[in-house]
């Protein structure tokens, strides 16, 4: 079934069209974005149960261009009489005396827009709103009880799920676009003690759709408990450079953190990225082809158009090792003279749009995982990434990984190191890739920040890769 558009957005649409017309009559360019997001979050652990609303947001943002300058106004109350007030607020913002002497202002030409009328929706099988809260909690409680019962060393076992459904309406002089999207994320986390340290293992689950996706979590309970029990025997990492096999989640973190942020083209505008110097050059092994795009995969960052009314793309960023292009929001594309790629995203209507990743992943290779492990003389199998940080200017990598499993003479020895900091120079790491497995997996439970804020839903992944990586 198709996700139905928000009744609130449909009700406000006539007013929003009036607002668009009022703004377009006064400014060289004007757009209106309306957002209505609803969802629920559920969490069950040994000692706690919770049901919440998640990040429910409902509001509007208008963007105008006047005298070459852009201004935006975000608000969440719109009634029949409030249109003149919104127009006045934007005009006051453009006239505000906020810039100290000695600082200038950027100058933009209006964007050229193709007339576009669009309406789209993703699909689902079981409507989350048709399922009682108590029934969801009962399913999560069963997973928790199963996890806790598996071994008395398990300190805690957490099962959680969130679903979110949003409708966005984008209006400008040339565009009238509506989309409705729903996704579900979830996961299980097991905790156990190692001396004074709490060790945790985590297995995620995510996808477009509704409550039908919850069933996928059941198979994750036993492996999650086994992993945390393994972690209670872990050792501190011995710093050094290793031959590594990365699981699809770790590959995803490398794709996203190490490379993806470096090709966000608002970073090109600011001279904050090395990537422009490498366009058309090898930045990775010829085995590597990398995609980003809201329509490049069916995952939690899938949408039909971005928050600036640009249709979703499937951008091939790296083609057989050669850097082809970056990804871009509309304002950056105007500055650079390039085409926007449908990557202009806001945390919500209340925040600015930046160039942001969506579904970001490596294409599969032709190798078998068992052959890849067998080819390692001495190295590590990396899994359970926890976080990463970008460094587009200098292409440094920081990824935190929870588990490194020792490989000796082509076999996993059972020895485990944790936690592990993965560092290096991005092109060195990507050029060192010598094998890629056949299956691609994407995970979409995480959020991505720009610096330390502006959180948006993303997915990333790829196949298992074999590379040389510095671990500490």
């Amino acid at each position: 079934m198709k996700v139905q558009p928000s009744a609130f957005i449909l009700e406000k649409r006539p007013l929003l069209l009036q607002l668009r017309d009022a703004l377009c009559a006064q400014f060289a360019y004007a757009s209106v974005l309306a957002e209505d997001t609803v969802g629920r979050s559920y969490r069950v652990s040994r000692h706690s149960v919770s049901v919440g609303e998640g990040d429910n947001v409902r509001g509007f943002v208008v963007k105008v261009l006047d005298g070459g300058r852009y201004a935006e106004y975000s608000f969440n109350q719109l009634e029949a009489g409030s249109i003149p007030g919104v127009v006045d607020a934007v005009r006051a913002l453009l006239a505000a005396d906020v810039r100290p002497a000695g600082l200038g202002a950027s100058a933009y030409a209006p964007p050229e827009e193709e007339p576009t009328v669009f309406s789209g929706a993703t699909e689902y099988e079981i409507d989350p709103e048709s399922v009682e809260d108590g029934d969801v909690l009962a399913r999560l409680t069963a997973l928790r009880d199963k996890g806790l019962a598996m071994d008395e060393a398990v300190l805690d076992f957490v099962a959680w799920t969130d679903w979110q459904r949003y409708t966005k309406l984008f209006l400008s002089r040339a565009k009238d676009m509506t989309q409705s999207v729903m996704y579900l994320t979830g996961g299980v986390t097991a905790a156990a003690m190692q001396d004074q340290q709490v060790k945790q293992a985590y297995l995620p689950c995510s996808g477009l759709g509704g409550m039908e996706l919850l069933a996928r979590m059941e198979d994750n309970v036993a492996p999650c408990v086994q992993t945390v029990l393994d972690l209670t025997h872990s050792e501190s990492m011995i710093p050094g450079e290793y031959e590594c096999i990365c699981d699809p989640e770790t590959t995803g973190m490398i794709v996203h953190e190490a490379f993806g942020h470096g090709v966000e083209m608002d970073m090109f505008v600011k001279d904050r990225a090395q990537a422009p110097q490498f366009l058309g050059k090898y930045v990775a092994s010829p085995l590597v082809t990398m995609h980003d795009g809201a329509c490049s995969a069916q995952q939690t960052a899938t949408y039909f158009f971005d928050d600036e009314g640009v249709l979703a793309h499937d951008t091939v960023v790296i083609d057989k090792g050669v850097l082809k292009t970056g990804i871009s929001d509309l304002q950056s594309a105007l500055t650079l003279g390039t085409e926007p790629t449908g990557n202009g995203r806001r945390e919500s209507y209340a925040r600015k749009a930046y160039t942001r990743m969506t579904n970001t992943w490596f294409e599969p290779g032709t190798d078998k995982l068992e052959d890849m492990i067998a080819s390692v003389k001495y190295g590590m199998y990396l899994e359970c990434p926890s976080s990463g940080m970008e460094d587009p200017k200098n292409w440094g990598i920081q990824c935190m990984v929870n588990i490194a499993r020792e490989i000796k003479d082509g076999k996993l020895t059972g020895r485990i190191f944790s936690p592990v900091v993965l560092t290096g120079y991005v092109p060195d790491l990507l050029k060192s890739i010598t094998a890629m497995s056949e299956a691609v997996e994407l995970s979409g439970t995480g959020f991505c920040g720009k610096g330390h804020k502006e959180w948006v839903k993303v997915s990333d992944g790829g196949p298992c890769i074999k590379a040389t990586i510095r671990l500490g």
């Binding site: 000692h47 706690s48 149960v49 919770s50 049901v51 919440g52 609303e53 429910n56 409902r58 201004a71 935006e72 106004y73 975000s74 608000f75 109350q77 719109l78 913002l93 505000a96 906020v98 810039r99 100290p100 000695g102 600082l103 200038g104 202002a105 950027s106 809260d133 108590g134 909690l137 805690d156 905790a191 001396d195 004074q196 340290q197 709490v198 501190s236 990492m237 710093p239 050094g240 505008v269 600011k270 001279d271 904050r272 209340a350 600015k352 990463g388 940080m389 200017k393 200098n394 440094g396 990598i397 920081q398 935190m400 936690p419 900091v421 560092t423 120079y425 610096g451 330390h452 500490g472």
Partner: protein
């Protein structure tokens, strides 16, 4: 508020917390020295948390859930939202706990230094202070985002609270760039409750100076074990371990072994003993009780378990609300003493992290100064991976202090025996 209280009454909800929050934010985005975008956000959101007592397996329970009420919602919409939360709370089987009493007071005006000034005026003043540091030419501000924010909060609870207050602050981020000899950048954040223009200019000047140093750093340190000196914002991250582990939720769920009156810094302490206070950054808790500063650690001994009403009740301690800032006693040693013996002074990381569950801290090194053989050598790259459990017995804090919105304490600390992966 009237619509919400009416809906609560109609449903027979006897225990609730209603929080209204209105935010007015003025935002300026600079690329180099050009204003690229000006934004304003004017938003209002009300959350209603309902608490529902019930029995399960002869045990007294209290479930809770919340609903968001937005401007323009009709009375029927408000009632539906609250009703949904009320039914959800009936499925949330947590053991019973009391909702703490709140107080009723007249609204508190903003007591900070931005009070009485327009957001426009304050924006111009703070932007000027930030760019005042950008004078050298060979190193400069690549980009900056400045947010002036004024919030009004109003809390009403079934336990007698009716409090409201206003608060303004400035926050944001900036990136410093030094193009030669190697083109590098560093990333920085700021947050001030007062128009502390001198601190913002001084912090930005320090950041620019460190960026110049990063441009001269050409190699990672050699892999090995180092004495590590951390400073500034890394201090709050490092010492956040003690704040997190002293949380009622962490302790009740056995994620933390901390106990009141116990020496949580460890028994064998050859270095400085930690004295830390929790500093209130809001006048009231999220359940409408007055919020006060509290001692967290005194010479390494835990004095306060902090947190909300549920886990506090389970542990038999007073609910305190959520703390976002700490004050720490400084040490006796000048910074130059901390770096007088061989060490790696880590100035900047990609993202310095502390895992309060395991006690591990670390990150990728963007800039450090290697002090050895009488030389100070800038280094970049590689990573630090340490454990507070291994280091806490031998920490030396600087006498100099550093202050930000969430931290007021020693500028730096020296830790012994930390693993570094480098060349």
């Amino acid at each position: 508020m009237e619509k919400i209280l009416s809906a609560l009454g109609a449903l027979g909800v006897e225990q609730y917390i209603v929080t209204e929050k209105h935010t007015d934010s003025l935002e300026c985005f600079y690329v180099k020295k050009n204003l690229d975008l000006t934004r304003r956000a004017d938003t209002a959101v009300t959350t209603v948390r309902v608490f529902r007592p019930f029995e399960q397996d002869r045990q007294r329970m209290l479930g809770d859930s919340e609903a968001t009420v937005r401007p323009g919602m009709s009375e029927a919409e408000v009632r539906r939202a609250v009703e949904r939360a009320w039914y959800a709370a009936g499925s949330v089987a947590n053991p019973w706990y009391p909702l703490p009493a709140g107080i009723k007071e007249p609204p508190r005006p903003d007591g900070g230094g931005f009070a009485g000034k327009s957001l426009d005026e304050s924006m111009k003043q703070m932007t000027q202070a930030l760019f005042a540091a950008d004078r050298a030419g060979d190193v400069f501000l690549n980009s900056a985002e400045v947010f002036m924010r004024r919030t009004r909060t109003h809390i009403v609870t079934s336990a007698g609270a009716d409090v409201a207050w206003e608060k303004a602050d400035v926050w944001g981020e900036y990136v410093c760039q030094c193009p030669a000899p190697v083109d590098v950048e560093t990333y920085h954040q700021f947050n001030y409750r007062d128009p502390d223009t001198a601190s913002l200019t001084a912090d930005a000047a320090h950041a620019l100076e460190m960026t110049k140093a990063r441009a001269r750093a050409s190699a990672a340190p050699v892999t090995g074990t180092y004495a590590l000196v951390l400073d500034r914002e890394q201090m709050r991250v490092l010492l956040g371990y003690y704040v997190d582990r002293a949380g009622a939720g962490m302790i009740y769920q056995k994620y933390s072994p901390f106990r009141l009156g116990e020496n949580v810094q460890g028994e064998a302490i050859s270095g400085d003993k930690l004295t830390v206070s929790l500093a209130a950054t809001e006048p009231y808790t999220d359940f409408g009780a007055p919020m006060a500063d509290r001692p967290l650690l005194e010479a390494g001994v835990l004095r306060t378990i902090h947190g909300g009403p549920r886990f506090a009740h389970y542990l038999g301690v007073e609910p305190t609300g959520q703390y976002r800032a700490i004050r720490v006693d400084a040490g006796a040693a000048p910074l130059e003493t901390l770096t007088a013996q061989p060490c790696l002074h880590a100035v900047s990381f990609s993202d310095f992290q502390m895992d309060p569950l395991s006690g591990h801290f670390g990150g990728e090194l963007r800039l450090g100064f290697l002090h050895e053989n009488g030389q100070v050598i800038p280094v970049t790259g590689g990573s630090v991976n340490g454990s507070i459990l291994d280091c806490q017995g031998n920490m030396t804090f600087s006498a100099e202090r550093y202050r930000s919105a969430s931290y007021d304490g020693p500028l730096a600390v020296r830790l012994e025996g930390v693993s570094v992966a480098g060349r």
